[in-house]
C-alpha cells in the first residue's frame, strides 16, 4: 500500500486584524487566530485524491498550535488515516532546518512513498522546509506542483510555469513534493463528520525534541504597511469614490 505523509502547518489567519507585539519585532500572539496554511490544505487534498484513486495510507503530521486538533480531525473526516501532533513546539518559531530534522526522524519510521507539503506558508521566511526534508531523507524534491499521478515506483507530477507552460515530470519514489495546488479544490467536509471524528479518531502525540529557533536572521522591526505619501486614499461611499476617481482620471486626460 502506498504510504503518503503530509506536513500541515497552522499560520496566522489574515481575516483577523494583525497586531504587532510591544516588542515591535513580532506579531501579537494574543490577537492571532490560526488557520491551516492554504498550500498545506491543497497538499492534504492531493493526498486524499491519490488515496481515493489508487489506495494509500495517509498520515498527517502537524506541529502543535492552537486549534491543531480540530484541523487534524477535519483531515481525518476527509479521509486521512493517521494523525500525528508534534508536541513541545514553543511559541517561538523553530527554524525550518530544525523542524525538518525532527520531522525526518518521524517520517523515516513511516517509510513513505511520498511526502507532500505546501510549497510555502505566509509566515515562513525561507520557504525551505520541504527541500530540507528531502535532503535529510535523501529523496528528490520538486516544488510548485499542481497535480500528481502515481505509477509503479514513480510518480508523474505536473508543474505550471509562468506563461501557462505545463511541465510533466517523472520522479522516482520515494520523493518530497511541494504542492502549489491540488487537482481539485480542497473539499468541504460536513461539521457532523468532523465531530464524529473527534469521538472516534485519535491523535498520536510525538515529542518534537529540542528545536532550534535561532535562524541567524535578526528582525529589526515588524510593522503594518504604512500609507505612503504618494498614495491618495479616496474616502467616502461607493458613489463618492467613483466620482472622485472619474475626476482624477479626467485630470490626467485619460477620460
Amino acid at each position: 500500500m502506498t504510504e503518503i505523509v503530509v506536513i500541515a502547518r497552522l499560520v496566522p489567519d489574515l481575516v483577523e486584524e494583525l497586531e504587532i507585539a510591544t516588542s515591535g519585532t513580532a506579531l501579537d500572539l494574543a490577537w492571532l487566530r490560526l488557520i491551516i496554511n492554504e498550500f498545506d490544505n491543497h497538499a492534504i487534498e492531493q493526498a486524499i485524491i491519490l488515496k481515493e484513486r489508487s489506495g494509500a495510507t495517509v498520515t498527517i503530521i502537524s506541529p502543535e498550535a492552537e486549534g491543531v486538533e480540530d484541523m487534524l480531525f477535519t483531515t481525518a473526516a476527509k479521509g486521512a488515516d493517521k494523525l500525528i501532533k508534534l508536541t513541545g513546539v514553543g511559541e517561538e518559531k523553530p527554524t525550518n532546518l530544525s523542524m525538518a530534522q525532527t520531522l525526518a526522524e518521524i517520517i523515516k519510521e513511516i517509510n513513505p512513498d511520498l511526502v507532500l507539503t505546501g510549497v510555502q506558508a505566509h509566515d515562513d521566511f525561507t520557504g525551505d522546509l520541504a527541500p530540507q526534508l528531502a535532503d535529510l531523507l535523501d529523496m528528490p524534491y520538486v516544488g510548485y506542483i499542481s497535480g500528481i499521478s502515481l505509477g509503479d515506483g514513480k510518480a508523474t507530477a505536473y508543474k505550471e510555469y509562468p506563461g501557462g507552460i505545463l511541465a510533466e515530470m517523472e520522479i522516482a519514489l520515494p520523493a518530497v513534493l511541494g504542492i502549489q495546488s491540488s487537482e481539485e479544490p480542497p473539499r468541504y467536509v460536513a461539521i457532523s463528520k468532523v465531530r464524529q471524528m473527534m469521538n472516534t479518531a485519535s491523535i498520536e502525540d510525538r515529542d518534537a525534541g529540542v528545536l532550534e529557533t535561532d535562524s541567524g536572521v535578526v528582525i529589526d522591526r515588524m510593522y503594518l504597511p504604512e500609507v505612503a505619501d504618494r498614495a491618495e486614499m479616496l474616502e467616502g461611499d461607493e458613489e463618492e469614490v467613483a466620482s472622485k476617481l472619474i475626476a482624477i482620471l479626467q485630470d490626467l486626460g485619460l477620460l
Partner: protein, 670 residues
C-alpha cells in the same frame, strides 16, 4: 304518498336484484381493498418508520377540513369550484346510496317530504356535477394550463365519472317518465329529461327496457371504476385523505426535523428509496398532479431545473419501479439518479414554502428536499460558492468571511453608543444578523434601525462577537452539523446575557430562533416589524411627518408564510401615512425573492428570469407605485439589484420598513 322505490324496473324474475348489486359491489370493493393493500403495505415495508398516529382529533379535523370541505382546493377559484363540484356531488351520491340502503334494509324513512327532499338534493348535485365536469373539460381540453399532466388516464377517469352520473340521471328520468309520480317536480333535472323521453313517443315498456340497460351499464361502470381506482388518476381519492390524515402535526413548518438515525443510532443521510420514511413515500402516491406547487414555485418560474410536482412524482416513479421488481432487494433504489430529483433540482429550492401552502393534499416537499441535501453535503457535492460560505460560517460565524470582531463595527458610528448585551443587562437584545451587520450597503439601514430604537427610548443592546449566524439557512442547505454548532454558540452567548426579549432584523433569524432553538426557558422573540407596530400602538413612536407615498409591500417567506406575520408590517406602513397597494401575489401568495434556503450563497445557475425581477415587474404593473417596501435585509440587496436589472431604477425605489418609519419621525427629532 311518494316513497323510495327500490329497484324500480328491474325484472323480478332476476330474483332479488339485491343479490346482484351487492355481489357486484362486494366483489369490486374487495378487489379495490386488496389492490390498495398491495400498494399501501409497501409504504411501510420500504419506508423508514415514522410515528404519525398521535393527536387523532386533529388528524380527523384536518381530514374534514382538507378532504371533505377542501379548503385548500378552494384557494383557487376555477380549479377549486371545478373540483368541489365533482367531489361534493360524489359525496352526496355516495351518501344518497348509503341512505337508500339503510332505508331498504334497516330503517324505512324515505317517504313523503323527506323523500322529496332526498330526491331534490340528488338532482341538484347531478347538475352541480355536470357543471364541474364541463369546467374540467374546458380546462383540460381548451385552456390547457401548463401545470396539468396530460395523460390518457385523466381522460379515462373523467369519462368514467361522467358515465356514472349520466347513467344515474338517465335511469332516474326514465323511471319518472314511466311512473310519473306525484313528486316528479322535486327532481327538476330528471323530470326535464323525462319529458324529453316522453316526447319521443316511446312506449312505457320500451322506456322500461332502456332503463334496465342503462341501469346495468351504470352498475358495471361503478364497479369498474372501483376496481381500477388503485391504478388510475382517481387513486388520490384514497391516498390524498391518507396523506392529509398523516400530515405533520408535531412541528410548525418553520422547524425542520433533525437528521434521523437508524436503529443503531447512526445518522441516516437520505439518498435511497428505503431511506425515506413511509410518509415521504406516501407523499409521492398522494400527489394529485394538480400542479399547484409547480405554478407557485419561484425556482420553476425562473427556469431552474426544479419542479416540485415532478420531484414528488419522481418519488412515485422510483417507488413504482421498486414495486414492480419487488424481489425485496430493489428497495434501495437511488433517488438522486432520477432526473426529477437530481442534485441540480435539489439545490434550486429556496425553501419558500409556497408549494406547501398550496398543496391540496399537504405534501411536505421541503422536508424531503432538505433531507436529500444533507446527503449531498455529507458527500461534499456542493458548489464552490456554497462551500466558501459554509467554510466561512464554520470558521467565523458569518458567511462574509469577516472577523467575528468586526460584527458590531457598524455601532462605532452610533450615538448614543449601542450597549454590549454580553456585558450589561438590556431589555431588548437585538439579534442583528449577518447581512445587517456586515454588508456595507446595509450599514445605513442598520444605523437607522438603531436610531429609531433610540428614538422610541428602547433599552437595547447587541451581542458583538458573541452573535453568530443564526443558522436558519445553514440548516436548510442541509449542513445540520454546522447548524447545531451555530445554535450552541448562540445559545451560550445568549445565556450570558440578561434581557427580556429578542428582536431580530432578519426573518430567517426570527424563524429559527422562534421555531428551532432549544431554549431552556420560554422566550419572547420579535421581528422588528412586530416591535415597531407595538411601539406605534403604545404611542412610543409618534409620526409627525406623515408620508404620502404610494407603496407596495413584499412579504418575506420566513415572516409571512412561515410565521403568519402579515399584519404588523402593513400596520406600520399605514401608520407612516403611506397608501399601501397590494401586489396580486400578496400575503401567503407572495413570490419568494429567490434568496432563501441558502440560494443566496450558491451559484445562480442558468436562470431565465430571477424571481426578484418577476416580483419587481409585478409591482410595476400597479398604478403609480413609488416605493417597494421590504422587511428583510436580504430583500434590500435582492430587490435593489432587480430594480436595476429590470431597468426601473428611476421609477421605483426599494425601501426598508425602517426607512419609512425614520422618515415619518421627521429628521429634526433626533
Amino acid at each position: 304518498m311518494p316513497e323510495h322505490n327500490e329497484y324500480w324496473g328491474i325484472p323480478l324474475d332476476w330474483g332479488s336484484p339485491n343479490i346482484l348489486v351487492y355481489s357486484v359491489m362486494f366483489l369490486a370493493g374487495a378487489i379495490l381493498i386488496f389492490r390498495f393493500y398491495l400498494r399501501a403495505r409497501l409504504w411501510w415495508k420500504i419506508g423508514r418508520p415514522e410515528p404519525r398516529w398521535n393527536k387523532l382529533h386533529l388528524r380527523f379535523y384536518n381530514l374534514i377540513k382538507y378532504s371533505i370541505v377542501q379548503t385548500r382546493i378552494l384557494r383557487q377559484k376555477y380549479p377549486g369550484i371545478m373540483h368541489v363540484a365533482l367531489a361534493w356531488s360524489f359525496f352526496i351520491f355516495f351518501l344518497g346510496t348509503a341512505l337508500a340502503t339503510i332505508n331498504t334494509h334497516f330503517y324505512h324513512f324515505l317517504t313523503g317530504l323527506v323523500f322529496s327532499l332526498y330526491k331534490l338534493t340528488l338532482d341538484v348535485f347531478t347538475v352541480v356535477f355536470i357543471v364541474g365536469a364541463l369546467l374540467a373539460i374546458y380546462r383540460r381540453y381548451i385552456t390547457k394550463p401548463d401545470r396539468l399532466t396530460y395523460q390518457p388516464q385523466f381522460t379515462w377517469s373523467l369519462i368514467l365519472l361522467i358515465i356514472i352520473v349520466l347513467g344515474g340521471i338517465t335511469t332516474e328520468s326514465l323511471r319518472l317518465a314511466v311512473e310519473q309520480p306525484a313528486n316528479a317536480a322535486w327532481s327538476p333535472a330528471g323530470y326535464l329529461i323525462a319529458r324529453a323521453f316522453l316526447s319521443t313517443g316511446a312506449s312505457a315498456a320500451a322506456l322500461t327496457n332502456w332503463h334496465l340497460g342503462i341501469w346495468l351499464v351504470h352498475l358495471l361502470t361503478v364497479a369498474f371504476t372501483i376496481v381500477t381506482l388503485p391504478v388510475g388518476s382517481l387513486l388520490h381519492i384514497l391516498t390524498g385523505p391518507l396523506n392529509i390524515f398523516f400530515s405533520e402535526l408535531d412541528r410548525p413548518i418553520g422547524q425542520l426535523p433533525p437528521t434521523p438515525t437508524d436503529r443503531e443510532g447512526h445518522p441516516v443521510y437520505v439518498s435511497k428509496l428505503n431511506e425515506l420514511t413511509w410518509k415521504q413515500i406516501l407523499n409521492g402516491d398522494a400527489c394529485t398532479e394538480c400542479g399547484r406547487c409547480q405554478d407557485v414555485c419561484p425556482a420553476f418560474g425562473a427556469g431552474l431545473p426544479l419542479n416540485p410536482k415532478d420531484l414528488i412524482l419522481g418519488i412515485r416513479e422510483i417507488f413504482e419501479d421498486a414495486k414492480l421488481s419487488s424481489n425485496g432487494n430493489s428497495f434501495d433504489k437511488s433517488l438522486l439518479e432520477n432526473q426529477k430529483l437530481n442534485k441540480e433540482a435539489l439545490w434550486s429550492c429556496t425553501t419558500c414554502a409556497a408549494c406547501l401552502t398550496e398543496c391540496p393534499v399537504l405534501v411536505e416537499h421541503i422536508d424531503t428536499i432538505v433531507e436529500l441535501r444533507r446527503h449531498l453535503v455529507i458527500e461534499g457535492m456542493i458548489d464552490p460558492e456554497l462551500q466558501d460560505a459554509l467554510t466561512n460560517l464554520g470558521r467565523y460565524g458569518n458567511s462574509f468571511g469577516q472577523s467575528p470582531r468586526k460584527r458590531a463595527k457598524w455601532t462605532q458610528e452610533i450615538d448614543p453608543p449601542v450597549k454590549d448585551a454580553t456585558r450589561e443587562p438590556v431589555e431588548y437584545l437585538w439579534f442583528v444578523g449577518d447581512y445587517a451587520s456586515y454588508n456595507p450597503a446595509l450599514a445605513e439601514m442598520t444605523a437607522k434601525t438603531a436610531a429609531v430604537f433610540n428614538h422610541a427610548g428602547l433599552d437595547f443592546g447587541v451581542m458583538h462577537k458573541g452573535e453568530n449566524h443564526a443558522g436558519n439557512d445553514v440548516r436548510r442547505v442541509g449542513e445540520e452539523g454546522l447548524f447545531e454548532m451555530l445554535v450552541e454558540k448562540n445559545l451560550s452567548a445568549l445565556q450570558r446575557c440578561q434581557y427580556q426579549s429578542i428582536i431580530t432584523t432578519d426573518p430567517h433569524t426570527y424563524n429559527t430562533l422562534l421555531n428551532e432553538y432549544p431554549f431552556s426557558e420560554p422566550q419572547t422573540i420579535l421581528h422588528y416589524s412586530e416591535l415597531l407596530a407595538q411601539l406605534i400602538k403604545d404611542g412610543k413612536l409618534r409620526f409627525t411627518n406623515p408620508l404620502n407615498y404610494k407603496v407596495t409591500y413584499h412579504d418575506p417567506c420566513y415572516l409571512g408564510r412561515y410565521n403568519g406575520i402579515y399584519d404588523a408590517p402593513r400596520y406600520v406602513i399605514k401608520a407612516t401615512g403611506c397608501e399601501l397597494v397590494e401586489m396580486p401575489r400578496n400575503r401567503d401568495l407572495a413570490l419568494c425573492c429567490g434568496a432563501g434556503g441558502g440560494r443566496i450563497w450558491m451559484e445562480e445557475g442558468k436562470i431565465q428570469e430571477r424571481p426578484s425581477e418577476s416580483r419587481i415587474r409585478e409591482a410595476m404593473e400597479l398604478d403609480g407605485i413609488q416605493h417597494f417596501i421590504v422587511s428583510c435585509p436580504k430583500d434590500i440587496t435582492m430587490y435593489q439589484d432587480a430594480v436595476k436589472t429590470t431597468g426601473h431604477e428611476s421609477d421605483l425605489t426599494v425601501k426598508d420598513l425602517i426607512e419609512l418609519v425614520e422618515e415619518a419621525l421627521e429628521d429634526s427629532t433626533y
